[in-house]
Symmetry: C2
Subunit: 95 residues, 2 copies
């Protein structure tokens, strides 16, 4: 199953720990605070546990919000991106 | 079709303009920087155009990243939330 992981985290050091963790777990960064990955249920649980551990350890006072949503490849290709980053074209992602 | 709108915007005043706009358009806020709504294709285009207008007007120098992804009700109910906000239970949302 395909998952999109969004996060909105104000503290830079905490946000970097989250993105480093997701990269280490082999997810693909598609936008500043958005990762995607094709994950089975045990991998999702493993990643959720790891993210919760970072949250507990860091005790961030700022905004700390992570959302993990299952989507299909087709749905993800229909996404709309409005961003200061280089305007990302849908085909950039290799499935 | 059901859509999740997620934004990661550093400048408070710009972020508030985006959330005010989405509320005005009748979307439901489910998390600090996450809205959802049941939208037909013309409504999605209307909202996308409105968000792009705000981005052009505000010329935010900070992070400005909005992602709009179509999802099903079932998928959204399977979401995982890891957040400093009050831990949100899936049943909170009335469909």
């Amino acid at each position: 199953m395909f998952y999109v992981i969004f996060y909105d985290i104000t503290e830079d050091n905490v946000r970097n720990k989250i993105s480093d963790y997701l990269k280490k777990k082999g997810l693909t960064r598609v936008q500043y605070s958005v990762f995607i990955g094709d994950l089975n249920s045990s991998r999702v649980k493993e990643i959720e546990a790891g993210l919760r551990l970072i949250k507990r350890k860091e005790k961030s006072n700022g905004r700390f919000s992570i959302l993990i949503v299952p989507v299909t490849e087709t749905q993800f290709k229909q996404r709309i991106v409005i961003s200061n980053e280089v305007e990302e074209k849908n085909e950039d992602i290799i499935w």
